[in-house]
């Protein structure tokens, strides 16, 4: 079984015309995958997160399955800088704006970039940030990814509209892979959206995102997970942020029955500034686990994290966040906050903050709150004529608002707000 999977990976790589180095990396990653044990309850990171449902032995390259549903795009094509859509393993670039073209921005499938931008991709794909050795899931993705998205923003290019990546899936396991790299002094917003219809039987998704934020550049990366209700989903999203660069990531978790996000930002140069934002709205039996890492490896850098979960039904969330300050990383400024709002008695939220501070001249703080809706808030809103449902939905909106506020691009913000409201008002719920 496993040897045939290895052959299958090599055959597919050859039939896609992938360069030799990539075929070798896939083979090496598959070897790491096979020799890495699956996560178990005894690993600290997986103690609250059940992965026993994952068919580790059945992992294989995506087969051709049903055609993904034709879902509406999250925004008008013309309000994007570029729009790349992956359906199953097939990638199309639907639009590139004149502005993006003039600025020399590259938005293509990762498979194509392995050829056309071979040096950059070989240098950065699964090397420093998310190598196969990071874990079994990362190794699985490195061996099996198909299609993928490659975004390169050249030095000094400043985009005023977002680059949009849409991943549509139907019934076959999917392994999205994204590589973003911003040149010195550039500025861009990227929105990646994972989707399948509620009726889709997609069972497994395992994606990997690597963000290289170049010196003095600004990147905002927003990720929306909106799979249908059958999907178990993994996301690895690692970033490195250079001197004087700014990164804002926002992870929006709406869909699936299971979601595990491993989100990390490594601050590598002085003046780096990172905001890690997250919001999840979970209902029914949904489960979402976010592990975050703010890794300060330089002096004089700042990171600020805000993760908000709203839980209904008997949903469960885990938030575990680490601030790590390396011994030489003096004058680090790091903040971490997790807020959980329960809409009724059924849900449960675990919040596990961790500080690992090895330098002595730092400012690091964290906070965590878990609350239910305050009856006084409902009374106050009621006294202004808002019924119970309206008041609750306003309070939920308000709970997410500080996160939405941190999405710099108005088009992206509005697309995310629309998706959250749609779920809140039941139009997308299972």
């Amino acid at each position: 079984m496993t040897s045939t999977t290895r052959d299958l990976i090599a055959d597919l790589s050859t039939s896609h015309g992938e360069p030799g180095w990539l075929r070798e990396r896939r083979a090496a990653a598959w070897h790491v995958y096979e020799t890495t044990p699956a996560p178990t309850w005894s690993d600290e990171e997986w103690r609250r997160t059940d992965t026993s449902w994952v068919d580790w032995d059945g992992a294989a390259p995506a087969a051709n399955g049903a055609d993904p549903a034709r879902l509406a795009l999250p925004m008008e094509v013309s309000s994007a800088s570029a729009l790349l859509r992956q359906r199953g393993s097939m990638v199309e670039v639907l639009y590139t704006s004149p502005e993006a073209r003039d600025a020399g921005v590259t938005v293509v499938s990762l498979a194509a970039a392995a050829d056309t931008d071979g040096a950059t991709v070989a240098d950065r794909l699964g090397t420093d940030l998310a190598p196969p050795s990071a874990g079994k899931l990362q190794a699985m993705n490195a061996a099996l990814w198909s299609g993928g998205a490659f975004v390169r923003v050249p030095e000094g290019a400043k985009l005023t509209a977002p680059i949009v990546i849409v991943i549509d899936a139907a019934d076959q396991p999917i392994f999205p892979r994204t590589l973003v790299s911003t040149g010195a002094g550039s500025s861009a917003d990227v929105l990646e959206w994972w989707r399948s219809s509620q009726a889709a039987t997609l069972g497994f998704a395992n994606g990997c995102v690597e963000l290289f934020v170049g010196a003095g550049s600004k990147l905002s990366y927003t990720h929306v997970q909106a799979w249908g209700s059958h999907t178990g989903s993994f996301l690895t999203q690692y970033a490195s942020v250079a001197r004087d660069a700014e990164l804002a990531t926002t992870n929006v978790t709406l869909g699936g029955r299971f979601h595990k996000g491993a989100i990390a930002a490594t601050l590598t140069g002085p003046g780096a500034n990172v905001r890690l934002n997250g919001m999840a709205y979970l209902d029914g039996e949904q489960f979402a686990d976010h592990h975050t890492l703010q890794d300060h490896r330089t002096t004089d850098a700042a990171s600020d994290l805000l993760y908000v979960n709203v839980l209904d039904g008997s949903a469960r969330s885990v938030y575990a966040g680490t601030i790590m300050v390396q011994p030489h990383a003096q004058r680090s400024n790091a903040y971490q906050q997790n807020r959980n709002l329960m809409l009724q008695r059924g849900p449960r939220a675990d919040s596990i903050p961790r500080l690992e501070i090895m330098a002595d001249d730092v400012r690091c703080t964290h906070g965590s709150t878990t609350s239910t809706i305050d009856p006084m808030h409902l009374y106050y809103l009621g006294s202004r004529g808002l019924g119970l449902d309206q008041a609750r939905s306003l309070i939920v909106d308000g709970t997410f608002e500080p996160v939405l506020d941190r999405i710099p691009d108005a088009t992206v913000r509005s697309a995310v707000r629309t998706a959250v409201r749609a779920k809140l008002h039941g139009t997308a719920a299972a």
């Binding site: 009374y379 106050y380 009621g382 202004r384 309206q390 308000g398 608002e401």
Partner: protein, 257 residues
Amino acid sequence: MTATNGQTTLSIRDLHVSVEDAEILRGVTLDVPAGEVHALMGPNGSGKSTLANALMGHPAYDVTAGQVHFKGRDVLDLETDERARLGMFLAFQYPAEIPGVRVASFLRLALNARRESEISVMAFRRLLLEKMQMLRMDPKFASRYLNEGFSGGEKKRNEILQLAVLEPELAILDETDSGLDIDALRIVADGVNRLRGSDLGVLVITHYQRLLNYIEPDRVHVLIDGRVVESGGKELAERLEAEGYERYGAATTSEDA
């Protein structure tokens, strides 16, 4: 929105209210006709805020006997939001802070809940700016989160802004003067005075006579130990200011000034 033609807006008959099985109101009877401003005065613990919250339908306040009619309708079986949509309004002594909810978006939702057809975004903006100007509020106020980080004076002004935008037929002002400096008090009172008219009935609940120097009441009622013990004209408020509540034999000690 029907005109009330001077008829009684609010009619309270023999109202008994308990909180956690302790009877606080022990038979309150009071009428507020349309267009009139009535003051309800009393020492701490006399039941003033209990009356305000019982009128608005706070779930923790248990009406054990009596009746409340608003515009001729029995409202005791209505939820708080239903009373509000009928035209009742309570300006809170301690308004709730609701993070993430902007003043403007909240008020537009609240106004639409009162209306049969939605107000357009532009028309609402104009209305809001006009009312904010009246209350001498910075337009930036509209995009702040509802009461979060507001000073005491800002919270009270925000309550009166809501009153001005929602245009109810009954406004209950619960200790609106507490925590206000004299300038803020004047602005708030000025706002209320501009809203006085043929339709709006106002029940001003206050410990002190100070507010009544600025909002002149048509009638003054004295609440002691959960009962209205005396009613009169505005001179009654002045007498209370001079003499205190002791003549009613009430336990009037713990003032919160």
